[in-house]
Amino acid sequence: MRDNLLRMAKMRFPILLVVNGEEHELEIDPRRTLLQTLREELELGGTHLGCDSGDCGACTVLLDGEPAPSCLVLAADCDGRAIVTVEGLLQNGEPHAVQKALVAQGGIQCGYCTPGIVVSSVALLRANPNPNEAEVREAIAGNLCRCTGYQKIVEAVLAAAK
């Protein structure tokens, strides 16, 4: 087992990652997670490491349009798939409505969970443009926040939907 892992550590796999609409040809260590690859190889620091076990949601990205914890996904499994990170939600330099609403409504304090909250909320609004409060809470239930009590986050996402 250990020898296998050590052998894998020396192997490199060519993959094509499509991140925020840009193609990246990479030679990666197959043990690397998508989160590590985004942060270390592509220098996209907005996706945050919170727990490394899929429990906190700080590393949430859109994988083929669906929110996914990038700490639990191997980069090698993302070959050719479309990935959107928090950085990719700006259009022509203009923040997404969810980002603007979180700023305006005080939904951000320390901000460490914010990118994950943004990504989960954008996924919600794409699937359900007019969610009610319960649906917003459900959509971000996998994103832990320790600063806000979620009150202003929920208000912001509802405001963004309007």
């Binding site: 005080g106 951000i108 460490y112 239930a141």
Partner: protein, 783 residues
């Protein structure tokens, strides 16, 4: 004329400017778009990854540490131990060292550390280190640790009792004899932990002159300089601390931890920058958690509803090393002795060494613990008196401009308004028909209840060090940009925005023209640190003074330029104008004119504020520790499932006296975030510790409330315009989470008739109490 040394407190007139405006945090857009740079984002060329080997035995002599194999692993740059890298003692109890050389006292003890080219290599190196221990008997119950013959944690200390706090006023012993109603109970409070979303972090780098720069998630940058100096023997003047954006802290960063000097030792050993970032698992076992408390409490009242006496006896488990958390009894006794008018009070707390993990400071600093048992007993007293709990609290509430027997000088005080608002908004009136309301739910086995609890907090700093001061400078450049350099620290709470608002208001400049620098000890003036809800009040007063100083300099020169007296001028909309005739000169032009002239100068204002407070007396613990006090009342409505014990908080009203809301949006944010910690403390959060080991070090098993667990929170800001606070503001950072658990416990009683005295009130415990209550129907209280 207003007092030139103090900002207006806002009483009487409402400011037309930026004070009281719901402006977004200055860094909110960066955070929303993923651009903010946190510690984990900082990299330096050649940077190595540091990792620590923890003892994982609770108490043992270190016989040998074999690092030979680890040293030989390719990619390893240094392996250090307490033997080859002895540090000095440091910390609040001067009882800890970076790496342990002879003995380990808890499973978290740091035995060796590795610096390697990457994380995998560092982890592999840790696995190659062999440590031989000679295990010693260990003690995990603080009561057992106090018994004669118990295993001694520190041999150079007289006993496992680190210290005893013994406070009293009035005559508590006899007061209980003369009381009409007495309630008594044992309370059991768990370990809980900060759970900041960003884990702790330290990056250390030396330059070729030997100067050390440390990037850190600390809350106390200047004390970190001192403690690193103490632990490592590096002069403090050689240490610079930089705080990147900090992803929450909640008291975690109030103490210096061993991993910080260890990071520096690894940088010394390798000559390279070294970073140690806690994994989430490390964050769970190596943070200084809120300490568990074993409490025996009694409270008494007279027939007429006068609160008469309180007595609390606590045993606090400090764990293996003493942190600033050992000082939390100072805050606990404040609740017991001064929340409401308390004629007689006694408070005794033993802070005890055990072989458990070290505990420390967490938001509220003892107050969530003491408010829980104090406010549950307020409810019990009201019930025994046959009095409405709201009426009982109103009758005994603190009032403005009174000094408590403890010596707290209460000035502004909105406690009564908080109680009234919270009660009214939760629908307390209709609670009169309680028995019907209990069953007004969709399902017959679900009962409804409401409860209330109050809180008293320091709101004008807290003098726990000899200084409670903060420095500030305000610089104006020749383009009119105003830069506040403040000693204070931003950990996400929004202080930098409140301070910018204070400066903008004081100078008459636009908020967008103000920059705040608060992250580098080589630039910023001294400050004690971010704790005790002190930043808006203390750093705000300092910033206001610095802004006034800079404004005076600008107006003095503009007066020369316009040939009027400075009194005749005002600043607004990037212009200095004569109030009467409208003649004007551009704000930035005044600054340029000062630069470009013979004998010129530049504009920089300075301000220092250290509040008019006292260290408490070392024997009696009396004294006015804070320049203002914050108050609050929270009322909740809960549903309790009588078949499963599951409690659901439906609604929560949080009414808090904040003095004046500089930025209402973030005052609310502080309170709402506090409420979330309070709901977790009440219902779900508990670090399960057995034999000094944490059994649930993941977010899957340690339940921080999610968006689905949180009720709708209605926050009410009560503004009492404090006479000493900047524009009337008082501290608000901690009190949001303080009364929550008691309010929920009181609501559970309202719904079910059973009293819970152990946190968290999980479904299992609530159900057990219900079953016990039913089988013992004669008594409505849990024995």
């Amino acid at each position: 004329m207003s007092d030139a040394t103090k900002p207006p407190n806002g009483s009487g007139s409402q400011s037309p400017g930026i004070i009281g405006k719901r402006v977004p945090k200055l860094d909110a857009l960066d955070k929303a778009t993923g651009r903010a740079q946190y510690g984990h984002d900082v990299t330096l060329p050649g940077m190595l990854v540091g990792k620590i080997l923890y003892a994982n035995v609770p108490h043992a002599r270190i016989v040998s540490v074999d690092i030979a194999r680890a040293q030989k692993l390719r990619g390893v740059r240094a392996v250090i131990t307490g033997a080859n890298n002895p540090g000095r003692k440091f910390g609040y109890g001067t009882d800890n060292t970076p790496l342990k050389g002879d003995k380990v006292r808890c499973r978290r003890d740091e035995v060796a550390a590795v610096a390697a080219v990457d994380e995998d290599t560092a982890n592999e190196a840790l696995e190659l280190i062999r440590v031989e221990y000679d295990e010693l008997p260990a003690v995990f119950d603080p009561r057992a640790a106090l018994v004669e013959g118990a295993p001694k944690i520190h041999h150079d200390k007289p006993s496992n009792l680190f210290t005893r706090y013994d406070y009293s006023h009035g005559d508590a012993e006899r007061a209980f004899d003369s009381a009409d109603v007495v309630v008594e109970g044992d309370f059991d409070l768990p370990y809980v932990t900060h759970s900041a979303m960003e884990t702790a972090f330290c990056l250390a780098a030396f330059d070729l002159q030997g100067h050390l720069t440390v990037w850190s998630t600390t809350q106390i940058p200047f004390l970190l300089q001192r403690d690193l100096s103490e632990a490592l023997g590096i002069p403090g003047r050689e240490i610079r601390v930089i705080q990147p954006t900090i992803g929450g802290s909640f008291g975690r960063g109030l103490d210096v931890y061993p991993f910080e000097p260890i990071t520096v030792q690894l940088a010394q050993a390798t000559g390279k920058p070294v970073r140690i970032s806690f994994s989430r698992t490390e964050e769970f076992f190596a943070s200084a958690h809120r300490q568990p408390a074993i409490v025996r409490m009694r409270s008494a009242a007279r027939h007429d509803g006068t609160l008469w006496a309180r007595e609390a006896r606590l045993v606090l488990d400090a764990g293996a090393y003493i942190s600033w958390g050992a000082v939390t009894p100072l805050v606990m006794m404040e609740t017991v002795a001064s929340l409401y008018r308390v004629p007689h009070a006694k408070f005794v707390a033993d802070v005890v060494y055990t072989n458990n993990l070290p505990t420390g400071a967490m938001r509220g600093y003892g107050n969530p613990q003491s408010t829980f048992f104090t406010e549950v007993q307020m409810d019990e007293l009201a019930e025994k008196l046959g009095m409405d709990p709201v009426e009982f609290r109103l009758k005994n509430a603190n009032q403005p401009n009174e000094e408590t027997p403890q010596g707290l000088k209460i000035t502004s005080c909105g406690l009564r308004e908080c109680i009234t608002e919270a009660a009214q908004r939760i629908g307390w009136e209709s609670r009169a028909a309680t028995d019907e309301r209990r069953f007004e739910t969709d399902e017959p086995h679900v009962r409804r209840g409401v409860g209330i609890a109050c809180t008293l907090n320091v709101g004008g700093g807290a003098r726990i060090y000899r200084s409670d001061g903060c420095g500030a400078t305000v610089k104006v450049d020749d383009f009119g940009r105003v830069t506040l350099v403040t000693g204070s620290t931003e950990i996400g709470q929004g202080s930098e925005t409140a301070l910018a608002q204070i400066v903008a208001e004081a100078m008459g400049v636009r908020l967008e023209d103000v920059t705040v620098i608060n992250s580098d000890t080589s630039v910023k003036p001294w400050d004690v640190g971010v704790h005790a809800s002190r930043t808006t009040f203390i750093a705000g007063n300092a910033a206001w003074r610095a802004a006034q100083d800079a404004k005076r300099q600008i107006l003095a020169h503009a007066a020369q330029m316009l040939n009027v007296s400075a009194d005749a001028l005002e600043i607004g909309d990037r212009i200095v104008r004569v109030k009467d005739d409208g003649r004007q000169v551009a704000f930035d032009k005044v600054v340029r004119a000062l630069h470009y002239r013979e004998g010129g100068t530049f504009v920089i204002g300075t301000g220092w504020y250290d509040p008019p407070t006292q260290l408490v007396d070392k024997d009696t613990y009396k004294g006015n520790i804070s320049a203002a006090f914050g108050f609050g009342a929270q009322a909740v409505e809960v549903l309790v499932d009588m078949e499963t014990g599951k409690v659901r908080v439906l609604r929560l009203v949080a009414a808090h006296d904040v003095g004046r809301a500089i930025n209402p949006m973030y005052c609310e944010g502080q309170i709402e975030g506090g409420v979330q910690m309070g709901v977790g403390y009440a219902l779900t959060e508990e670090l399960l510790v057995r034999d000094g080991q944490i059994l649930n070090p993941t977010f899957l098993d340690y339940r921080v409330p999610t968006a689905l667990d949180m009720p709708e929170i209605e926050t009410v800001l009560i503004e009492t315009a404090d006479p000493e606070g900047p524009f009337g503001a008082k501290g608000v950072g901690e009190m949001g989470g303080t009364p929550t658990a008691a309010a929920i416990a009181n609501a559970i009683f309202d719904a079910t008739g059973v009293r819970l005295r152990r946190l968290p009130m999980t479904g299992e415990r609530v159900l057990a109490a219900i079953i016990k209550g039913e089988s013992n129907a004669a008594s409505q209280t849990e024995p």
